[in-house]
C-alpha cells in the first residue's frame, strides 16, 4: 500500500475548509458567546430551523467520520465497547460515545460544546433513535426534541404522513427549539433561508449532472462526499452555501468544457476507463487508500446513492419557501435511506442508464443496516434489469478492524478485469455489426 501524498485541493475545497474551520471556531466559543448548540443528524436535518433561531448545529455522524479519517475512531470505539456496547452495533454510535468520553474534542482539536438541545430528526435509520437515547444519558437533563419521520413504505409520501410531520414540527419540535433558543421563530427569516437552500440545491444538481459528460469531470462518490458537505450540514439555507456551490459549479463546468477527468488527492485523473454507480457509504478510516484503488484503475464513480442521504435533489426536490413546514417534512421523508427497497432499486437503475455506467458496485457497510440489509437482493435486481457487471465489497464506516485493504483491492481488481473484458467483447460485437 502506498503512502498517499498531501492532497491536491481545488479552490472550492479550500473555501469549504474555511467554512468548516469558522464553524468549529464558533462552536468552541459558543458558550462564551451565549450561542445555543443543537446536536442533530444529517439525514432529514432541519438546519434552516436551527440557523433561523440563531443556534449552532453539531452532527455526531460527521464527528464520527472525521474521527475515522483522523485515525482516532479505533480507540474511541474500543472505549465505548468497554462500557458494554457490543462489537456488533453501529460504529458511528460507538465512535461518537467514545469521543465524548475522551473530552469531545472536535476535528480541529477544539472541544465541542455540550448540547443545549438534542434534536432527533429520526429519518431513515432506526439506530438514530437508540443513539440519542444514549446521548441523553450522557447529558442528563438536556432538552430533547424528537421528529419522527415516517418511512416511505409504499414508495410515496402521503398526506397523512405530511400532516403528522407538520403537526410534530408545529406543536412539539419548534416550540421546544424556541424554548431553548429563547426566541420565537421568525418565519420570514426561515423562508429566506429555504429560498437560499433551493438555490444551492439547484447548483448541486447541476454539479452532479456534469458526471453525465464523458469523461466525467467529477467523482460523484469520493469527491461527492466533500461536495455535498455544506448542503448536508451546517450551511444549507445560508448565502455562504450558495456562493460555495456557485464556485464549485463554475470549477466543475470549466473542467467539463475542457474534457478533463476528476481531480483526485494525487492530481487529475488522466483517463476515464470505467464509469461506475456505487451504493453504500464509503469507508472513512482508509478513505484515501480506498479511493486510490479506483483512480489508479481509471474508475470514476458517476453517481452514488450515499450522496443522497442528505436529500434527493437530483430527483426534483427543492425546499419551497412558500410552504416552510410542509417542505421540511417532504425533505425529511425524501432522503435516500427513507426510501423503500423498490424505490432504491429503481433509482440505481435510473442512475446506471442515465449516467451510462459500465458497472454497479456495492460497498456494504458492516454497521449500517439501514443501507446494508437487502443489498444482495438489490444487486440481483440490478444485474437482471441493467445487465451490467455488479460487484460487492465489504467494509465499515469508522471501525478500522473491518477494513481489509488486501481483500478489497483483490476483489476490485477482479471486478475491473471483468469490466475490461466486457468492454473488449462489446467492442468486438459492435465491430461485427
Amino acid at each position: 500500500m502506498s503512502n498517499p501524498k498531501d492532497a491536491i485541493k481545488e479552490k472550492s475545497m479550500v473555501i469549504q475548509k474555511e467554512m468548516l474551520a469558522n464553524l468549529f471556531t464558533e462552536l468552541s466559543t459558543a458558550k462564551e458567546n451565549g450561542k445555543k448548540v443543537v446536536y442533530t443528524f444529517v439525514p432529514g436535518n432541519l438546519t434552516e430551523l436551527i440557523l433561523a433561531l440563531d443556534m449552532l448545529p453539531v452532527y455526531p455522524e460527521i464527528n464520527a467520520l472525521q474521527s475515522g479519517m483522523r485515525k482516532r475512531s479505533g480507540s474511541y470505539i474500543k472505549d465505548a465497547e468497554k462500557l458494554g456496547f457490543s462489537e456488533d452495533v453501529c460504529t458511528y454510535v460507538k465512535c461518537d460515545i467514545g469521543m465524548m468520553l475522551n473530552g469531545n474534542i472536535g476535528p480541529t482539536g477544539e472541544k465541542l460544546p455540550d448540547p443545549d438541545l438534542l434534536l432527533l430528526s429520526y429519518t431513515g435509520c432506526f439506530t438514530f433513535l437508540k443513539w440519542f437515547e444514549n446521548l441523553e444519558r450522557l447529558y442528563p437533563g438536556v432538552e430533547i426534541a424528537m421528529l419522527h419521520t415516517p418511512y416511505q413504505e409504499d414508495g410515496v409520501i402521503t398526506d397523512d404522513q405530511i400532516n403528522y410531520m407538520v403537526k410534530q414540527l408545529k406543536e412539539e419540535v419548534i416550540p421546544k427549539m424556541e424554548k431553548v433558543a429563547g426566541k420565537k421563530l421568525d418565519y420570514d427569516r426561515l423562508e429566506k433561508m429555504l429560498g437560499n437552500a433551493a438555490k444551492a440545491e439547484e447548483l448541486w444538481v447541476k454539479v452532479l449532472e456534469t458526471a453525465k459528460h464523458r469523461p466525467s469531470p467529477i467523482d460523484s462518490y469520493f469527491a461527492g462526499v466533500y461536495y455535498m458537505g455544506p448542503l448536508n450540514t451546517a450551511f444549507r439555507g445560508t448565502e455562504e452555501a450558495v456562493s460555495y456551490y456557485e464556485e464549485l459549479y463554475k470549477e466543475v463546468n470549466e473542467r467539463m468544457e475542457q474534457n478533463l477527468c476528476p481531480v483526485t488527492p494525487e492530481g487529475e485523473m488522466k483517463e476515464e476507463k470505467f464509469r461506475l454507480v456505487v451504493e453504500g457509504p464509503p469507508n472513512w478510516t482508509n478513505f484515501r487508500e480506498f479511493w486510490k484503488i479506483f483512480y489508479d484503475m481509471g474508475a470514476v464513480i458517476v453517481a452514488s446513492t450515499y450522496t443522497k442521504v442528505g436529500g434527493l435533489y437530483d430527483q426534483g426536490f427543492r425546499h419551497d419557501p412558500l410552504k416552510p413546514l410542509e417542505t421540511l417534512s417532504r425533505y425529511c421523508m425524501g432522503c435516500y435511506t427513507n426510501l423503500n427497497l423498490p424505490q432504491r432499486v429503481d433509482l440505481i437503475e435510473h442512475y446506471i442508464k442515465e449516467y451510462k455506467a459500465d458497472g454497479f458496485l456495492i460497498n456494504s457497510i458492516k454497521s449500517c443496516n439501514s443501507f446494508s440489509a437487502g443489498q444482495l437482493l438489490m444487486m440481483r435486481e440490478i444485474e437482471q434489469r441493467c445487465e451490467v457487471p455488479v460487484g460487492f465489497i465489504e467494509s465499515d464506516l469508522v471501525d478500522p478492524r473491518y477494513f481489509s485493504y488486501a481483500n478489497i483491492k483483490n476483489r476490485l481488481e477482479s471486478y475491473f478485469q471483468m469490466l475490461e473484458q466486457r468492454k473488449i467483447i462489446m467492442s468486438q460485437e459492435e465491430a461485427h455489426v
Binding site: L83, C125, E133, H148, D160, N163, L341, P342, N369
Partner: protein, 391 residues
C-alpha cells in the same frame, strides 16, 4: 413428588407441535374452513391483532425459522453481519411455507425488518405488504391520529381482499378476546413466578409461541386449561436461582438454549421472548362505540417497555429493575441476538441500571440456530452458583 397431570402433558405436546410448525398448517386449515377468511403474517414485535381478527382474519406470527429449517437461499440474501431472523423469513417466503398468506406486516423495530418489507415487495409476496410504522410520538392528536390512519390503511388492505367491513361490535368482541388472552398469559406468568417448577420455561415458551399461530379463541381455551392445571401443586422445587431474561424480543433463541439456562440452575420467571403478545399492559376498553380509538389509546398509553419505542425520559433501566423486584428475581440474563441493534444498544444502560440497583447480571448473544450450548450452560451455571453462594 407428584407427576404433572396427563392432560397438561397432552396440551403442552400440542403447543409444541403448533409452535414450530413452519408450514403453519393450523392457520392454513383455519383459512380453508370458511370463505372470506384471510391470513396476515406479522413479524416481531407488535401489531394490533384485534384489527385482523375483527376483519375475519388470523394474525400469524412469523418468528424466523429458528433451528428447524436449513437456510440456504436466506444466506445468499444477507451478509454475515446481519442478524439471522430475516434469513429464515426470506427462506420461508421463497419456499412454500408462506403460501396462502394474504398479507404481511413488518412492525417498526429495526432497519433489518424495515428493509425486509421491501424485499417482500420486490419478491411480490402476499396481496399486501406493509411496513407498520407505528408512531414514535405519543400525543393523542399527533401520534394517535397518525396511528389511527395507519391502522385504517391496513383495514382497507384487508377489506380489498375479503370485503369484510369491520363493525364496532366485531372490534369490541376482538378486543375482549385479546384482553382475556393477555389476562390468562399474565396468570400463567404469575403462577410460574411462584411455582416455576410446575411449568418449565420451555413449556411456557411453547404455549406462548403456539398463540402466535392459532386463533385467539383456541389459544384462550388452551390457556384456560393450562392455568387451571398448573394452579394445583405438583412437581418439586429445585435449588435454582430466579432470573429475568432480557433482550430476546425479536429473533428467538433456540429451545436448547432456554433449556440449558434452566438446567444450569436458573428458573426463568419473566422474559421478553413473546413481547408482542404482552405488549399492551392491562385491558383495552371493549365497551366503547369507537373500538379503534381504544386500540390507539392503548398503544399510546399502555405499551410495554421495549427497545423499539423511543424512550427518553422514561428509562427502560428503571422498569427492568422494577420487573426484577416484582418477580422476586435474583438476577438478569441479557440474552440478545447477535447483530440486534435495538437490544444491544440498550444493553449498557440496562446493565448500568442493574448495577446501581445491586442486581446481578450476565450477558451472552445467540443466533436463532445456535447449536452449541455448553458455554452458555457453564456461564449460566456459574452465575447461578455465584448467586447461591455469595448473594
Amino acid at each position: 413428588m407428584t407427576q404433572a397431570p396427563p392432560r397438561l402433558t397432552t396440551l403442552l405436546d400440542e403447543c409444541k407441535q403448533l409452535a414450530f410448525d413452519l408450514n403453519f398448517t393450523y392457520a392454513k386449515q383455519w383459512k380453508s374452513e370458511s370463505e372470506n377468511r384471510i391470513l396476515v403474517g406479522y413479524l416481531p414485535i407488535y401489531v394490533p391483532r384485534e384489527i385482523i381478527h375483527a376483519s375475519n382474519g388470523l394474525a400469524v406470527g412469523i418468528l424466523g425459522a429458528g433451528d428447524r429449517k436449513q437456510i440456504i437461499k436466506g444466506d445468499a440474501y444477507y451478509q454475515s453481519y446481519i442478524c439471522h431472523l430475516p434469513r429464515g423469513v426470506i427462506e420461508m417466503a421463497l419456499d412454500d411455507n408462506l403460501n396462502n398468506f394474504d398479507g404481511f406486516l413488518f412492525p417498526s423495530i429495526c432497519d433489518c425488518v424495515r428493509n425486509l418489507s421491501g424485499m417482500f415487495k420486490l419478491a411480490k409476496k402476499g396481496k399486501f405488504t406493509r411496513y407498520f410504522d407505528y408512531p414514535q410520538n405519543f400525543q393523542k392528536n399527533i401520534g394517535g391520529t397518525f396511528y389511527r390512519e395507519l391502522i385504517e390503511t391496513i383495514m382497507n388492505d384487508m377489506f380489498k381482499i375479503n370485503g369484510v367491513k369491520i363493525t364496532n361490535e366485531a372490534l369490541n368482541n376482538s378486543i375482549a378476546l385479546y384482553n382475556r388472552n393477555r389476562q390468562l398469559i399474565e396468570e400463567m406468568y404469575a403462577i410460574r413466578q411462584e411455582f416455576p417448577w410446575r411449568l418449565s420455561a420451555v413449556d411456557a415458551y411453547h404455549v406462548m409461541r403456539a398463540g402466535m399461530v392459532v386463533n385467539v379463541e383456541k389459544h384462550n381455551l388452551m390457556l384456560e386449561e393450562i392455568v387451571q392445571l398448573i394452579s394445583h401443586d405438583f412437581g418439586e422445587s429445585l435449588d435454582n436461582i430466579r432470573v429475568v431474561i432480557s433482550g430476546s424480543f425479536c429473533e428467538q433463541p433456540p429451545i436448547g438454549m432456554i433449556k440449558s439456562i434452566e438446567m444450569a440452575g436458573c428458573y426463568i420467571v419473566d422474559d421478553d421472548l413473546m413481547l408482542g403478545s404482552r405488549w399492551i399492559i392491562g385491558d383495552i376498553d371493549a365497551h366503547t362505540n369507537d373500538g379503534l380509538n381504544s386500540i390507539v389509546d392503548a398503544f399510546l398509553t399502555q405499551s410495554a417497555p421495549s427497545s423499539a419505542i423511543y424512550d427518553v425520559g422514561n428509562p427502560k433501566g428503571a422498569r427492568l429493575v422494577t420487573q426484577v423486584k416484582m418477580r422476586n428475581a435474583d438476577g438478569v440474563i441479557f440474552c440478545a441476538a447477535s447483530f440486534c441493534d435495538p437490544a444491544l444498544l440498550d444493553r449498557p444502560d440496562l446493565q448500568k441500571a442493574c448495577d446501581n440497583a445491586g442486581i446481578a447480571h450476565i450477558n451472552f448473544q445467540f443466533h436463532e440456530n445456535t447449536g452449541q450450548f455448553k458455554v452458555i450452560k457453564e456461564q449460566a451455571g456459574t452465575f447461578s452458583d455465584s448467586i447461591k453462594l455469595w448473594v
